[in-house]
């Protein structure tokens, strides 16, 4: 499990510790689903207790994410693992799938806990502490799905016109950045998967390659030992390759995937900011045409201006934070990739060097003449 504590929230400063584990299958008449145990330990005063243990299913996480997006439209909400994973045709309830999802859910909650604003969100607290029935009844409150959708549609309609031309330079830069970043990170994701596949294929061939030498050694007298030695070298390198692959799938692949999701999230956040601005702009345009009712309008406009400013500031701050985290994540992940590869090559090197040593010792014994180093 990777608990990535960012430099800004050192372990000493944390007062909320969350783990997601223990996936369990539940079978009812209607459906089968998995729940995960969510354990929270905290010293915060707002929490009634210092320790909580609840069970949550994927739907609950989705609910939490949408509530957070609703409450903080221009904050960067961490990504949730997708509902289904098409690539590789992993079965919905295979152990691999469940474990990948569990890790991602764990990261999701911890990222929220690390976020200076989101960590104090009320729905977040309820998610961590409420028993199953409490959560269900809480979910039913609040604006319905339809009304939420209605808002979004109206907002989109009004924003499309004005947002781009009045957008502050900073956010245009962000948009441009995100477009390129999104493209590149998607490519990296594909490349990383491709490398994983090639390494797996290589490993499979090596599994056949080694034993042939052992088979050969059976018909040889003199060189039988050398052949067997070679076979065992190949086997060891094969296992080293498997370790390298495991490293990829544990670190690089999940991180790149998260940032693929992040790029979608960020594009969404930028759009929402544009929408908020759009609301203001359309009201300002409307005011320009109306000479009367200025006072009424100006109060509304004042409110919208505040809203826009708050949204912009929130986004700017979160953006900076996100970039720093991204930099940290990418650096540590790729360094991990390099370390994995180094370990792989060092292990193989040691294997072959010891084989070589054993062979040249024999040569010295046999020939009793000057020899190769």
């Amino acid at each position: 499990m990777i608990n990535q504590y960012k430099f800004e929230d050192g372990p000493e400063l944390r007062d909320l510790f969350i783990t997601v584990d223990d996936p369990e299958s539940h079978i009812t008449a209607i459906e089968t689903f998995i729940t995960y145990r969510v354990v929270t330990k905290t010293t915060r005063g707002e929490f009634d207790s210092s320790e909580y243990e609840v069970r949550r299913r994927y739907q609950d996480f989705l609910w939490l994410k949408s509530k957070l997006e609703e409450a903080h439209p221009t904050l960067i909400i961490p990504p949730l693992p997708e509902k289904f994973i098409m690539r590789g045709m992993v079965e919905r309830f295979s152990d691999e799938f469940i474990e990948t999802r569990r890790k991602a859910l764990h990261k999701f909650l911890n990222r929220i806990a690390d976020h200076p604003t989101l960590t104090f969100n009320e729905d977040f607290k309820i998610f961590l502490t409420a028993q199953a029935w409490e959560l269900s009844s809480h979910k039913k409150q609040g604006p319905g799905l339809l009304s939420r959708m209605g808002q979004t549609v109206r907002a989109v309609a009004s924003s499309v016109r004005g947002a781009v031309k009045n957008r502050p330079e900073m956010f245009t830069e962000m948009n441009n950045y995100m477009e390129t970043f999104s493209q590149k990170v998607n490519l990296l994701d594909k490349i990383a998967h491709r490398i994983y596949k090639e390494e797996r294929d290589y490993c499979n061939e090596m599994k056949e390659y080694g034993p042939i030498h052992t088979l050969w050694s059976a018909s040889e007298e003199d060189i039988g030992d050398s052949l067997k030695g070679l076979a065992s070298c190949i086997d060891r390198c094969c296992r080293a390759t498997e370790k390298r692959m495991a490293g990829l799938s544990e670190h690089l692949l999940p991180i790149l995937h998260e940032y693929v999701l992040y790029s979608e999230i960020l594009m969404g956040v930028l759009k929402r900011r544009d929408q908020i601005q759009g609301e203001l702009d359309s009201k300002v345009d409307a005011l320009a045409n109306k000479k009367t009712e200025k006072d009424l309008f100006s109060e509304e406009i004042g409110k919208l201006e505040d809203k826009v400013e708050r949204a912009n500031n929130a986004l700017k701050a979160d953006w900076d934070r996100w970039k720093q985290n991204m930099q940290w994540d990418m650096r540590s992940t790729f360094m991990n990739v390099a370390e994995n590869n180094l370990r792989y090559y060092e292990e193989c090197l040691a294997t072959w060097e010891s084989f070589l040593a054993s062979q040249t010792v024999d040569l010295h014994v046999d020939e009793d003449s000057e020899d190769r180093p």
């Binding site: 441009n176 950045y177 390129t180 970043f181 590149k184 490519l187 990296l188 490349i191 491709r194 490398i195 090639e198 390494e199 294929d201 290589y202 061939e205 090596m206 056949e208 390659y209 042939i212 030498h213 088979l215 050969w216 018909s219 040889e220 003199d222 060189i223 050398s226 052949l227 070679l230 070298c233 390198c237 930099q327 990418m330 650096r331 790729f334 360094m335 990739v337 390099a338 370390e339 590869n341 180094l342 792989y344 090559y345 060092e346 193989c348 090197l349 072959w352 060097e353 084989f355 070589l356 062979q359 040249t360 024999d362 040569l363 003449s369 000057e370 190769r372």
Partner: protein, 466 residues
């Protein structure tokens, strides 16, 4: 870079040096490394070293180590050239010709360079030479030629005979073949071989004049024909079994190696994509940009490094291939023994039946059913004169047969003795060469690992600056 050499793993200076001017260095006879040439022994009979062994009965006129042609002469196949010409059917064809260069080795004290002689030969002439040697010396494990067509290729390699890499590897293989023959105690003395090296014109006619094609036993070509041999020398039976196993296991190994090479190529080359994307990504990053850009460069280096690595591995594959083909030569010697034994047993059987016939005629008793017996019963017996005549003929045939059997027996025993001597020599050579090949494989892997460590250390450094 490891090259296929009969037993020598270090780069063959003979192949790598430019053809002229040649320094008067010690030649590199197949099977011994340059340092060991100082230990040139003087005695005739030698403890075997590499493939210059002389484990043979004293009556065989084998060349002593220092008399082997390989010691007296530097032989290289230094160039390959594309040619066009008209073949026997007057159709234009393209083929490759190879330049064979030879130079007599002067003793170091004279310090003079003998002139380089050279001539061009094409692959088919090498084939003719080898066929001639196989037929003329059936008791010798004749060194094999490099493959006619590219086989066991992995996807990047071309299967085209005109491909320059294939031609280059074939050039090395042909040189290796000549050096193997030149350092063989029996084969190196052959006049046709010498003429192959020295006499461009009229060589083909010379070979054909030996009439070796007539000596060739067509039955040897029928690989799958089995002969019911009652008393083969068990060692040859085992050896044939071994050669089959060797062929099968090396083919399998080469096939899988080609697939492994393919996969390894894939792993390395995909990393090259990182280079491109990192570079593009670095354009939008301020702090991460430099680290990304330089890391990308190292990924490009990593991706490019596989080409050399796999090219070196091809030489290893060629070393194995030589022994794949050697297995065939080994098998041929066993076959020859089988055939000789078969002929012997047939001749013995024939003699026995003739003796029996003779006895029956003489004593008048019919022990076995025979058509003659039946017909004589039905149509009356022969006259005594007729019977006498028959007995006389049979007795002559029996005498002839006994002489033939005696000589066949002798032939067979001589064959077994001399073949087994060469087989022992071959075994030593094979064990030495294969062991060296395995060592060179390990050396290649080590080099590959070191390169990988270097690249990823550099990349890690760059990533840490992101």
């Amino acid at each position: 870079m490891a090259r296929p050499g009969p037993g020598s793993a270090p780069a063959r200076s003979a192949a790598a040096e430019p053809p002229s001017p040649m320094e008067s260095t010690e030649p590199e006879p197949s099977g011994s490394r340059p340092e060991e040439e100082e230990e040139e022994e003087e005695e005739e009979e030698e403890e075997e070293e590499e493939d210059e062994s002389i484990l043979s009965p004293p009556e065989q006129p084998l060349a002593a180590m220092e008399d082997c042609l390989a010691k007296k002469m530097e032989i290289t196949v230094s160039e390959a050239e594309k040619r066009t010409g008209r073949n026997a059917m007057n159709i234009q064809e393209t083929y490759t010709a190879y330049l064979i260069e030879t130079r007599a080795v002067e003793s170091q004290s004279e310090g003079q360079c003998a002139p380089v002689e050279s001539l061009w030969r094409r692959y088919s002439e090498f084939e003719l030479l080898r066929n001639y040697l196989s037929v003329t010396y059936p008791h010798i494990v004749v060194p094999p030629l490099p493959e006619k067509r590219a086989d066991f290729v992995w996807h990047k390699l071309s299967a085209d005979n005109m491909d320059p890499d294939f031609v280059e590897r074939r050039r090395i293989g042909l040189e290796n073949f000549l050096l193997r023959v030149a350092s063989h105690p029996v084969l190196c003395q052959d006049k046709i071989f010498y003429a192959f090296l020295m006499q461009e014109g009229g060589w083909k006619e010379m070979v054909n004049e030996t009439g070796f094609q007539l000596k060739a036993d067509s039955r040897l070509k029928a690989l799958n024909a089995t002969f019911r041999v009652k008393n083969p020398d068990k060692r040859f039976t085992e050896l044939k079994h071994y050669s089959d196993e060797l062929q099968s296991v090396i083919s399998h190994l080469l096939r899988v190696r080609a697939r492994v090479a393919d996969r390894l190529y894939g792993v390395y080359k995909v990393h090259g994509n990182y280079g491109r994307v990192f570079s593009e990504w670095s354009a939008i990053e301020k702090e991460m940009g430099d680290g990304l850009q330089s890391a990308g460069h190292h990924m490009d280096v990593y991706a490019a490094s596989i080409d050399d690595i796999l090219e070196e591995e091809e030489h290893y594959a060629d070393q194995l291939k030589e022994y794949l083909f050697y297995a065939e030569a080994l098998r041929a010697v066993c076959r020859k023994h089988e055939l000789m034994q078969y002929d012997l047993e047939m001749a013995a059987q024939d003699l026995t039946s003739k003796k029996q016939q003779c006895e029956e005629l003489a004593t008048g008793t019919v022990r076995t059913f025979s058509l003659k017996g039946m017909t004589s019963k039905l149509f009356g017996q022969e006259t005594p004169e007729q019977r006498e005549a028959k007995i006389k003929v049979l007795e002559e045939q029996i005498q002839e047969g006994e002489e033939q059997l005696k000589s066949k027996n002798l032939e067979g025993r001589d064959f077994v003795k001399s073949a087994w001597a060469d087989i022992e020599r071959f075994k030593e050579q094979k064990n030495h060469d294969l062991k060296e090949a395995l060592i060179s494989y390990a050396v290649m892997q080590i080099s590959m690992c070191k390169k990988g460590i270097q690249v990823w250390t550099n990349a890690k450094e760059c990533f840490s600056k992101m």
